[in-house]
Each structure stands twice: as structure tokens, then as C-alpha cells.
Point group: D2
Chain length 366, copies 4
């Protein structure tokens, strides 16, 4: 579904070249004061055109509130308890031509399977409903949810862990500084090690020069989540709550928690996190679990990694098929594309996490 969540429910709408994109967020608590600058700064982290790593396409991306709030001064709005609805009207789209049917699906894009699923009726322009542009309302929704979470001392931050061969250092596993969380979640293309970012930019630049693109990995942390938070039953775990949202981000192909895929070579004696009392609090000396055991929060930082494939839109000639003529053909894409999606995907990963965690807190009556 385009909607997700049993307590905090988000309905995302829009197509890349349609009239508008937006979101309806149901189930938000009433009376929450939401800062506009804090929302807009999150959206700016995802916006295109701000950096050589990204597409030069500029979008106004100005969110317009449709319902569910009352202004408070010039810089904030207050939730009313009714669904919060927001739309961003499309302004800078080159093609307005509705007549062209898709004939040659772009490799690596949803074009072909969407064509089959929708019997040729999808709006394929710019990827339609599968466009990365749909993540703008996701970031809006996340920016609202994270302000509510912040009042419960829950913070969410992510950074580029790897792009090509360039790697950042990972989050500390057991104690993540509040200042680091704050810093990462405020920046564009955040890395923990500034040197890592330079190496990553170099990877992107080379790929771009070669008319190509490059993939990467984002690491995300959520701190301040108390122990004992989860939905109900075996499908109610934190991983099961987060995974459908993270995999809903276009281009995401992998997700792991804590030690993740490295558990394949770990022994139980290495992977188990030993408990101890830190004052009144039960903590663990390591955090291979990534903050979740049996799908329930342990009170340690929630840690996960998400892998994103290289942007499928590349300027090289590619082999494809002509769906009208039923023959093989080649494709040469033009246009403005991100050579690497990682920098702009970072705030999207944080946003999905914020929505999922706020939903979990409500589901847990916490």
C-alpha cells in the first residue's frame, strides 16, 4: 500500500512529473508544536541541485500545508489531531507531454515491471510514482515525527558509511554522543570522519566523469529509545517495523541490524552482548544486537545499515527492448541524474526511521 502504519499512518502520493507530490499523516498527537525551520532544514538536506554530487535539477520543493494544523506565529504550526496533509506542487519539470507512451524501459528502473503491472497505464515520466522525488514528502513526515521524538529525548542520525571503496568509520556501538547525533542529522552528506567524505566525493566524481554512477551504504542510529519497545507478537518486532519502510526507499537493496551480515562468521561467545548494571540501568558492554533482541528494544542504540544501488540512470548506451515493436534495441538516456544517491538518501533513511519509531511508541503505548 501507499499507506503504512497502524498508529502513525502515512499515505504518500505523487508522481515525478504529475501536478503534486505529498503526504497525509494520520494519528499524530494533537497539540504538538512543529518548527518550520526545522522541517525545511531537513527537506533541504534531501533537495537536489545543492552540490556537485547531485543532479543540477532544482526544485522549489516548498511544502504547502493542506490540513491538520494551525499556524503558530510565522515559524511554527501546531497539530490539531486531524490528519496532517501536505502537498508540494511540481514546478520544474521539463516534459509536459502526456502523449508519449513508454516504448523502451530503462534498465534498473521500475519502468518495465510497472508497465506490466499497470497494463501500460502508469505515468512513466521521470519514474512516475517510483521516482526518488517521492521521498520529499517522506522527509517532511519524518521531520514532523522527529520533533515529537526529540521531546522524548529520542534522536535519529545517519551518515554515509561507504561509497564505492571509500569508507567512513562506523558509529560507536554503545554510547553515541548527543552532539554527534545533532551534528550528523543537520548536515548534507554527513560522514563521521571528514576525510571519508573527501574520498567518497572522489569516487562519485570519477563515476560521473565516466558517465556512470556508484552505490553505497548508509548507517543509521537511533538513541534514547527505552528498553521494552516493540509491537506485538512475532511479526511485531522493531526490525519488522523498520524493514518495510527502509526497503520502500527507492534503490534500497539491503538492510542489516547491529553486527548484521558479519554474524555469519561470528561465534555466539563473540556476538552475545554481556549485560551489566550502569547505576540503575541495565546495559550491555557490546552492541552486536544493534539495540534489538527478539525484535524488542534493549535500551542500547538502535543501529542498522542500508545498501543503495548505483543510480540506474546513466549517460551510457544500454541494451534494452522496444515493448511496442517487440525487438531488442539500445537506449541513450539524457537528462539530469544523481551519479550517487547516497548523500540525498541519508535524510530519507532518518525520516523513515522517525516515522517507524514514533509509530512503534504509539503501538507500545509508550
Amino acid at each position: 500500500m501507499s499507506t503504512w502504519g497502524d498508529a502513525i499512518n502515512v499515505s504518500i502520493f505523487g508522481e515525478s512529473h504529475g501536478q503534486a507530490i505529498g503526504v497525509v499523516i494520520a494519528g499524530l498527537p494533537a497539540g504538538e508544536v512543529i518548527s518550520w525551520p526545522a522541517v525545511l532544514s531537513q527537506m533541504a538536506r534531501r533537495a537536489p541541485g545543492q552540490d556537485p554530487t547531485a543532479t543540477p535539477r532544482r526544485e522549489a520543493d516548498t511544502p504547502q500545508l493542506l490540513a491538520g494544523s494551525i499556524p503558530q506565529g510565522d515559524d511554527a504550526f501546531v497539530t490539531t489531531g486531524a490528519p496532517l496533509a501536505m502537498a508540494i506542487h511540481n514546478t520544474n519539470t521539463r516534459s509536459q507531454d502526456y502523449g508519449e507512451k513508454m516504448t523502451v524501459p530503462r534498465p534498473g528502473h521500475a519502468d518495465y515491471p510497472a508497465f506490466v503491472k499497470h497494463h501500460g497505464a502508469s505515468d512513466h515520466r521521470g519514474g512516475g510514482h517510483f521516482s526518488g522525488r517521492l521521498t520529499a514528502p517522506v522527509v517532511f513526515a519524518g521531520a514532523v515525527c522527529r520533533q515529537i521524538l526529540a521531546r522524548k529525548d529520542i534522536a535519529i542520525a545517519a551518515h554515509a558509511l561507504q561509497i564505492g571503496q571509500a569508507k567512513d568509520q562506523p558509529f560507536p556501538r554503545c554510547a553515541i554522543d548527543a552532539a554527534l547525533m545533532q551534528d550528523l542529522s543537520s548536515r548534507y552528506f554527513a560522514t563521521i570522519d571528514p576525510q571519508a567524505q573527501n574520498a567518497m566525493r572522489q569516487e562519485i566524481a570519477v563515476a560521473h566523469e565516466q558517465l556512470d554512477s556508484i552505490g553505497g551504504i548508509i548507517e543509521c542510529a537511533c538513541t534514547g529509545l527505552p528498553p521494552g519497545i516493540a509491537g506485538e507478537g512475532i511479526f511485531g518486532g522493531i526490525e519488522s517495523a523498520l524493514a518495510p519502510m527502509i526497503f520502500a526507499i527507492p534503490a534500497c537493496k539491503g538492510l542489516d541490524f547491529g553486527a548484521g551480515f558479519d554474524v555469519a562468521t561470528l561465534r555466539g561467545s563473540q556476538n552475545n552482548d554481556a549485560y551489566f548494571y550502569d547505576g540503575d540501568q541495565v546495559k550491555s558492554r557490546t552492541n552486536h544486537a544493534g539495540g534489538s533482541l527478539g525484535g524488542i528494544s534493549t535500551g542500547m542504540p538502535l543501529l542498522f545499515r542500508a545498501a543503495f544501488k548505483p543510480t540506474p540512470s546513466i549517460a551510457r548506451e544500454q541494451h534494452s527492448v522496444d515493448l511496442q515493436q517487440h525487438v531488442d534495441t539500445t537506449l541513450n538516456l539524457r537528462g539530469r541524474h544523481d551519479p550517487c544517491i547516497i548523500p540525498r538518501a541519508i535524510p530519507v533513511v532518518e525520516a523513515m526511521t522517525a516515522i517507524a519509531i514514533l509509530n512503534l511508541l504509539h503501538v507500545s503505548n509508550a
Copy 2:
């Protein structure tokens, strides 16, 4: 929730040392003939005690139908369209003592966070609702669903891809032989390369001797899925449908599709799968996408990997806390534990996939 699925809905119940475990499966089509031997052979693949790699604990694990079917001869039953309910009564559980409260949570288990979530009221014996034993009804449900899928020429099979340093060869990406699918999905502890299994058994044996356990990776394939299958909207993709079910398997810490985490170092020109016409069918020459683009099936094999941590129950002394006395302490576990969960988890991964795919087909009206 303990229930999952909008069209095919499974409600799993039970606790390791409770009276029974089982499942209610709603939404199954009526009139489907289900073979008992085919169900029982799937359940046998997950059953403990059959092999030195697994716990010597033997469970009868005889599924008893409660509702939703009518017998057909001695070896089959027919679905009636009402929810199919099944229970397995617990017989071989050592502890029947309800009085003992949990005091020392086992590291790596759900004990501590479940204690917090349920205010000390969980049935912690044997892991309670978080026990791997709860996967027996999952395999039952999957065994029913896969028989219905087989009539649509959809097959699901998995194998041990890695345990410790020992690795199997992966599935061929583009054309997987029906005989291989059939063979893998019939065997206990299946590998594609028989030598790999020997190396894996060696890894497990060494870990076991050292009073330890070892993790691993399972690779799963689904063949025969037509192109264009998906739920609706950005949260309706195949990955978002499968992920909450796979992560609901105890000990699962990672999941990736197609090229998965390797996309971090891939270029778009490498990762994009070029299309061509194979007769009337659109196929791709590679399958880095793992059979899904934009969350919609491409018609190529669906391929994913799931990482499972080493069994947290190990016979070594571990550091933990005493939740009643509020002091640090140590813990020495006794009992019968799998030194590696991978062999028995293989049919569970297949089962969750079968349930998720049958649900998706119904949701897609396909």
C-alpha cells in the same frame, strides 16, 4: 502483531513450554487439496534432533488440524475457505514449573527486553513466544501455501550459503533449474555444492566442541513469479512484503536482495540488468536486481540472502545481571541447544517466503 498479511493472514501463537503452538491461516482459497506427506516432509526439515548439527531434543511436532479443512482420503485435506487452524501440543518439555521468575536474562536472547515490555509477566521458559520453536507453525503454513503456489508453477528453495568461513556457491542468477529447486527444497541442510556442506559441518562441529555456536547466511530463490506482481504504492513492494516476515524469524539480523550489499562498490553500468527478448518474454542478461525493480517482480528469479546470528545459548559462562537483586552476576546455561541455527532455519525462510508470495499474488489479483 502476531498476525500478518492483508489477503493471506497468519496468526502465530504459542510459547516454547506452553500447552501448544500453532497457527490460524485466514484467506486461503477454498477447495485446495493439500498433501499431508508434503506438509510433514517440510516440517521434518525443521524438526530438531535429526542430525549432529542440531539439538538432540526430539519433538513429536505432530500438527493437529483444528478447523478449515475436510479430510480427503488418508493423505490429504481440502481447504474449506474458512480459516485453517492447526495446533501442535507440547509433549517433550522438561520444565513444567511455573513458579520460577526469570532473574538472570540470557545474553543475546529476548529475555531482558521482553521482561521490561511485559513487566515481568512473560513466560520466559525456553524463550517463550520468542522461541525458535514458534517456527514450526510457520513451516506448516508455508507448506500449505507452497502447494498452492506449485499449481501456478511457482517454486521456492533455499540453501546454506555460508556458515563461518565455509561457503556454498550461490544460485545461478538468471536461470535456475527446476530440478535444483525441487532437490534443495526437499532436503535437510541443503547446499548446492555437497563439498560446501562438509566444510560447514566442520565449522559447526568445532564451534560445538568449543562450547560455542556459529552464525551463517541462507540464500533463497523464488522462480516462476510472473512480471508485474506487487502490492500498491511505495510501501507495497516485494521487498517490503518479504522483509517483515523474514526479520520475524528469530536470530535474523540481515536481508538483502539480488546484488545486495555488494551494490556499494558497483557502478550503474555493472549493476543495471540489460533487457532482451527471449522469444516473447522480456528477460535480462544479468539479475543484480534479484527479480525486483521498484518493488515489482521483473519475471526473473527472486533472489535474496538472510543472515542469522550464532545461537545465543552457549554452554560457556557469560556475564549478565540479576534483575531481582540488581547486581551483576554470571550465568551458566545448561540444556540442549543447536550450535548453529542455519540448517533448521532453511525451511523456515522458504515458508515465510511462500506465505508472503501467496499473499502478494492475492493482493495483486494475479
Copy 3:
């Protein structure tokens, strides 16, 4: 939730005096051509200001498509398979003053319980999210769904069955003429017997003169629904699918199917509908069941009645409380109010039915 439906899912947003009202409809099939005149004529049936029975407040109520469609000529649009989103921007609202807190809740309105639920943060102006104005997007969504249903020869129509003491004749129970369905579902304030409408208008006029309002009953029929349509299990019946949608219409206080509350005095020998073969079709000679047995469609017309209370906004002085001062007080409402909601609620009942039935068909894979 503001969202409803497992296959066709509608998310309604908006508040009476907010920026906009609208709806996101997910799960619609792709490629459906939707006629604009047919949509607008349905919305016109609900619009205020067209008749002495209704409030003189005029709303432009022009629906603006945001996403999920591509124009086809000037008079139609085609669904793309992505969520169809629509907004109506508010233009004619008198109060723009956000500062006023609600102090005196209007009797019969949601003011007081919404104040408690939302801790005083709701937008109470004009009833906020509980305003009848929110039914405009419902009618839009229904107008889309009914065009899709019409292609399957399923028609939905409703009429004013009773207002005060004035009564219309009910639908024929077993065979409803297609022309009657077409006629009723095209008109404003439809009755089957034209005389009945005059009597009803008289009831409304008298109530209005007396600064009062009056309630009524709407009867709705759905023809062409094949037998065997239902969701799954005991909560999946047609009544359980329709009821939450009909009761979501503001002011609805009662709902019954077929013989409805009259069953209290009926004998089984009277109420049972005897079957017979009409050619190849199984039909019943009576239709006390209202087209549903065990929650499954019988193939006979689906028939139900919904009761709507008198508009709570009346121009008489009423007793209430001052929530700020914590004292009893009186209230004198001004403004423009419908003396009877029935005429404008008719197309809303039809619209909710259209959404529910299209959802059921998808759920039933029919």
C-alpha cells in the same frame, strides 16, 4: 483511522476552515477512464446552497487533481495505478481567526469530546475534521469508484425514505429497474414518489421556520452485485465492510439491512427468502435478507437504510457549559446551517457504498 480499506484505501483529510480538504485513494486499478462531468455531477448533488432545504453557504468545491492520473481530452482522466490524490481548496470561510479557543461546546456536535481527546488543540472552527464538509472528498472518491463499478454493471442509488413524518415508498425488494437506479443517482434530493418529496420539503420548511432542524432516513440499493462476494471470515461480511463507512458519515446514528429492525416482530417463516430458479440464476421470491446472508452477497439487490439525526446547529438558545470558566452557560449559534442533512447526505451514502463495494470486489478477487 482517517484511512479505510485493505484493497481500495481512502485517506480523507481536511478541516472545515482549514486550507483544503481532500482524499488520497490507493489501490485503484490502472487505466480506468474517469469522466469529469460524471464526477462533478455527483459532487453537485452534495454541494450546499442549491436549494431552500440547504444552507445558503456556497462553496466552489472544485476538485483539483494532485496525483495518480493523466488527462484524457478535456473531460476525462485516466488512472495510472499510483494513488489518486485530490484537494479542494477552501475559499468561502468567514472566520480566519486562529486565536479563538473554543469555550462553549455546541450540544450535539463533536466539540466537547474532541476538545477532551485532543486536549484543546483541535481546530474546532466549523466542526473541524468532523465537519460535514469532509464528505465532499468522499463523494469525489465514490464518483470515481462508481464509474469503475458501472463497467461491471453494478449500480448504486439512494433516496430520502423519511424526513420527520413524511415518508417515501421503499425500493422494490427483488427487482429494481435500471432506469430508476439511474434516475435516483442523478438527482438532488431524490425520492421515488415525487409527492413524498413535497411532504418532506414541507417538514423541513416548518422546522426551519421554527429555528429548528429535522432528521431522517436514507435508503440505499446496490444492484448487479454477483452472488458470493464477501471478505474473509466472520469479520469479512458485507455488513461489516459497509457499516464502518456508513457510520463514518457525520450524524449517522443507525443502519439496518433488508428487513432490518422489523425482524424483531417477524417469524422465520416470514423472514426466510425462498429460493427458485429464474432460468440459470438462483433468486429469491422475497429479499428480507437485503442481499446478504452470512455476510456474503446473494445476488439479490443489496438494500440498507441509514438514519441521520437532525442537524445539531440550530438557531435557538441552548444550554451548555463554559469549558474555560467551568460554569454552566447558554449558547446562541449564528451562521448558515442546513435544517435537514438528508438531501445532501444521499450522494454521500452512495459514495461510501461505492468505495466499500469496489474494495470488496478487489478483496474477493472478483
Copy 4:
């Protein structure tokens, strides 16, 4: 679906003549002590064979716990936070013959539409999944939920308001004595006025003598619900939460709240409930709203009526069709049937209400 509820979720399974009937209840809070005598006394109120008004068929109806609880002494169990599963094994069913296909559907039963929906594969014996027998697990689930509600001072009680021409007095609208609630919810075939019960028994006796059956109306009250309780948005109202559950009770054909269908003849000045301060509490002098405005609880008693049709199983010859021969025919039913479902449906209405209200409280985080 056979499952219902977003926070407290019940999955009902079973068929009249199958192996067992039962329920899985997910989302219950952990640590709740549930009294067995209180559960069994509720189930006894629904059990057949206890009274001349009901079928002489006796069922053991002994609920067997499968999971989700730990015994506490002999007379209670404690919820563990895992899904609570219960089964009742069928013992006293006459027909064990699986071979007979349904050929002649019983008028007024789900036989025919279920035959179409399930392509002849349903278990039609005794009504299958549509049997009133499926309400036994509903009463079990309600008996658990009402004990949890009682700790929040929320009580639920119902009585026979009307059977044929015999009528009981309705609940007082504004202040319902706790003793009355307690008394009604403990008795079999409760009426407020003992004389009314005599008249009702007479109605049933006459119908029975005439080989016929009779319908009726049940009125239900829920007291102690604080103001401000509701789900979210326009589909989240109390009526929309209760209605699908009440209509899921076999034979229910109507439901109204507060003044209900009588609103058709009421003026706004009559129907509006004027507020006043009773100490610190806002109350209303009348309760035409039935405790709900805008779908949100007002703090006044929740009041509704549900109409149940006469039992369709009657001993008279009826007209029907032969689905195998495709000809009209007649049907003579034998067996043991309730001449009136009302007495045994009373605790079922209460149970559905208890489940729905506990779910609402969880959804509202109240």
C-alpha cells in the same frame, strides 16, 4: 477477515462440525489475572441446552488454553503478553459424514452464497464457519477483555429489549446503576423488567409450537468510558469500531446508537443533549447521542441496539432449489434449533463490545 482489531486483535476459527472452534487474541496486556469462574459463567450464558427457549443440543464447550497464559492457582490464569489462544474441541456433533455435498441450500442461511463464494468447497454441515457456534470463542475473548475493562471501572451489560411484540423497558439513558449492570451481565436471558421476560418467553413458546422462530432486539450499555475516547480520523469513530463486530454476529441485521432510528422524527431542539457541570464533570441532561458525538465518547453511557432476525432453521417445509439438479424443490429441516436467538446472543453482543472497547482504549493510548 477472520481477524479484527489493530491493537487487540482476535482471530476466530472453527466450523460447526469441525474438530474445534477457538480464538487467538493478540495484543492483550501482560500480567492480567483472569478469573476462570468469571470466564466460564459468561460462556454458560451463551451455552445451548439450558432452557426451553433454546436448542436441547448440549455442548461441553470447555475452553482449553493453548498459549499465552500461565495458571495462577486453580481458578485463574495470567496473561503473558504473547497471543492468548484457546480451543474448544467439538464433541457432540451428530454428523461426521464428510461425503455429502450440499444440494439444497437452506433459506435464510449462508449456505447458497457460501457455496458460490467457495465453489462448493465450504464445510456446510451445521452452517460451517457461519454457525452461531462460532460465537463461543467470541464470548471467551469478551470474558477476558471485560475483566481487564472492569479494572478501569468500565462495565458492559445487555438485555433483551424486544422479542416479537413483547418489550422490555430500555436502559435509563443518563445514569445506569452499577448493580443493574452487574445483575444483567451475570444472568441468562436478562431483562430489566422481569414481567417482560415472561411475555418474551410466551412469544418464543408460541413460535416454537407453530414450528416457527421469532426475532428480536438486544440493547447494550457500556458505562465508565471516559470522554474523549476514539480512534483517529473520520473512520476511527466508536460506531465504526463497534459496527463491524456487532454485524459479525450471525443474524444481526440492524444497529443503532442512542436515539437511533427514532432520530428520523426528532427535531434538533429535542435531540441535542444539553451540557451541564455535575461537579467537575461535564454531563448532559439527556443522552440521545448514546454516548458518542463525532464518533468520540462523551463520558455518558454508550448505548446501542442490535436487531437479530428469527432463526432461519425452522421445522416447516420451505421452498428452495437443488443446486446439483438445477431444479426447484422443497426442504424439510430436522434437528435441534433455537426458536429465538436473542437469549443466547445477549452475552455475544456484550463480548463483541468488550473486545471493541478494549481495542479502542489501546488505540487511544487511554
